[in-house]
């Protein structure tokens, strides 16, 4: 999620009156509320049951782009959407490996950990024995000899499902179980939307908030 989007949400919630009825409920704004509520509900479910439901997963196949490479021959870098965090140890990445093969790369979520691992004879990612995937922000770096044979396939619980390149908003189901939709709407309506729905709408778009309650004189 972009900082701008998060800012819009935070700004919009307590000051719904500054916005017109149209932009208070515009699609993009409500989508963002749904995505963030989904992430919250999924994390809650994972903490309870310690499992990733297959319904939450989406497949992303990143495209190779020379612009993102640093000229090194020992790694390939891809830009990916953001993955949600599940608990202190595990995030939403379920599988990363070669497309069409069930060969998994070992996931590392921190460059400092990755660096420490290079000092160990068994764990050393640069030994070439296993392929490793280092996740860093919105990038993933792949290390190992098998990674260039075919494009990687990443199955994960993504923070914004609409940013995944295999997702079609018009035809694909939203990646969450039916049973959690009620929970998502509860989170949105009881926490986020409550301030907006209780605010007066600014009916006149004149650059002045006519819905604001004036301070007592």
């Amino acid at each position: 999620m972009l900082l701008q989007a998060i800012r819009d949400i935070i700004r919009a919630l307590p000051d719904g009156g500054y916005l017109s009825p149209d932009n208070r409920f515009q699609d993009e704004f409500v989508d963002m509320l749904i995505h963030s509520a989904r992430a919250w509900v999924i994390r809650d479910q994972f903490l309870k049951y310690k499992r990733i439901s297959p319904q939450w997963l989406q497949t992303h196949i990143p495209e190779y782009d020379k612009v993102f490479q640093d000229g090194s021959n020992c790694q390939v870098r891809f830009v990916i959407p953001q993955v949600i965090a599940l608990d202190g140890r595990q995030d939403g990445v379920s599988f990363i490996g070669n497309d069409g093969k069930n060969c998994t790369f070992r996931q590392v979520n921190n460059r400092a950990t990755f660096s420490a691992m290079t000092k160990d004879r068994i764990m050393n990612p640069q030994s070439g024995r296993k392929a490793y995937a280092l996740f860093s922000g919105n990038e993933v770096e792949l290390y190992g000899s098998v990674l260039l044979t075919s494009p990687p396939r990443i199955e994960a619980v993504w923070a914004i499902p609409t940013e995944v390149n295999t997702y079609n908003m018009l035809t694909d189901d939203y990646p969450v179980e039916e049973s959690l939709i009620r929970e998502i709407s509860r989170v949105i309506m009881q926490q986020d939307m409550v301030i907006i729905t209780k605010s007066f709408a600014d009916m006149v778009n004149q650059g002045k908030d006519t819905s604001a309650i004036s301070k007592p004189q």
Binding site: K50, R51, I52, D87, G88, R89, Q90, D91, V93, S94, I96, T104, F105, R106, Q107, V108, N109, M117, D120, R121, I122, M123, P125, S127, R129, K130, Y132
Partner: protein, 239 residues
């Protein structure tokens, strides 16, 4: 039957409910390898041989080398002069017959094939076998006790150890991430590891005794038939 580290890793991941991620794979593999290295089991060490290149009278010992057993200059590169003594300064390396150079500390009754053998005529220092300055050979073939590892440097594991080692890895991992596992889980894996280790070490001792029985049998036969028993000890040292 031997199994790979990957097999034990998979067992440990399912125990820890980490089958949906690869984030802990490297650490678990390290724990499994660490556990396997310190078992003291029948398969922890194995006798291996390798031909080393000599440069400036010394040759780099192989990875996972533990103890030198014997060496021989391969035919064609160099051999020995028979009937020499153990003094490296007077040893002549020029002849044509195969000679064994053994570690007398380990193979006390070794009797290799060929005309003779010499004991402890070189040093082992800082990962190198250091030969006398009279050496003209370019290669030396070395037999040694090695950690029993595969091509990737991972321990070769007996299938009977799968349960114990996966419990060991799960216990160690759960100790690090205590917040995710209950005390009951940790103590259960710890107890399972200890029980499995005791049971398997006992089984290994029985197996080791069965292997020794052949040598004991030969020794008894040689005493009864009044023949030389030197060869028996030579066979015994192969275990």
């Amino acid at each position: 039957m031997v199994i790979s580290t990957e097999q034990v890793l998979t067992s440990a991941k399912f125990r820890l409910r980490l089958s949906e991620t690869t984030i802990a794979d490297a650490y678990l593999e390290k724990l499994i390898n660490e556990g396997a290295m310190h078992l003291g089991a029948l398969r922890t060490y194995s006798v291996q041989c390798k031909e080393l290149t000599i440069d400036c009278y010394k040759a780099k010992l192989p990875d996972y080398f533990e103890q030198f057993l014997a060496a021989q200059f391969p035919s064609g590169t160099c051999s020995c002069g028979c009937g020499c003594n153990d003094d490296p300064d007077t040893l002549t390396i020029s002849g044509g017959c195969p000679v064994w150079y053994v570690n007398r500390d380990v193979l006390t009754n070794f009797n290799g094939t060929g005309c003779s053998y010499y004991a402890n005529f070189f040093d082992i220092n800082a990962g190198y076998i250091v030969l006398p300055s009279t050496t003209t050979a370019t290669h030396i073939k070395v037999w040694y006790q090695s950690l029993n590892v595969d091509d990737d440097g991972l321990m070769i594991i007996d299938s009977q150890w799968e349960r114990g080692l996966s419990a060991y890895a799960a216990f160690q991992y759960a100790v690090v991430y205590q917040e995710s596992y209950s005390p009951e889980q940790r103590s259960s894996w710890s107890a399972e590891w200890k029980a499995q280790k005791g049971y398997n070490i006992g089984r290994d001792n029985i197996k080791r005794f069965e292997l020794d029985k052949h040598a004991i049998c030969q020794l008894m036969n040689s005493i009864l038939s009044n023949t030389s028993i030197a060869g028996v000890y030579g066979a015994r040292s192969n275990y």
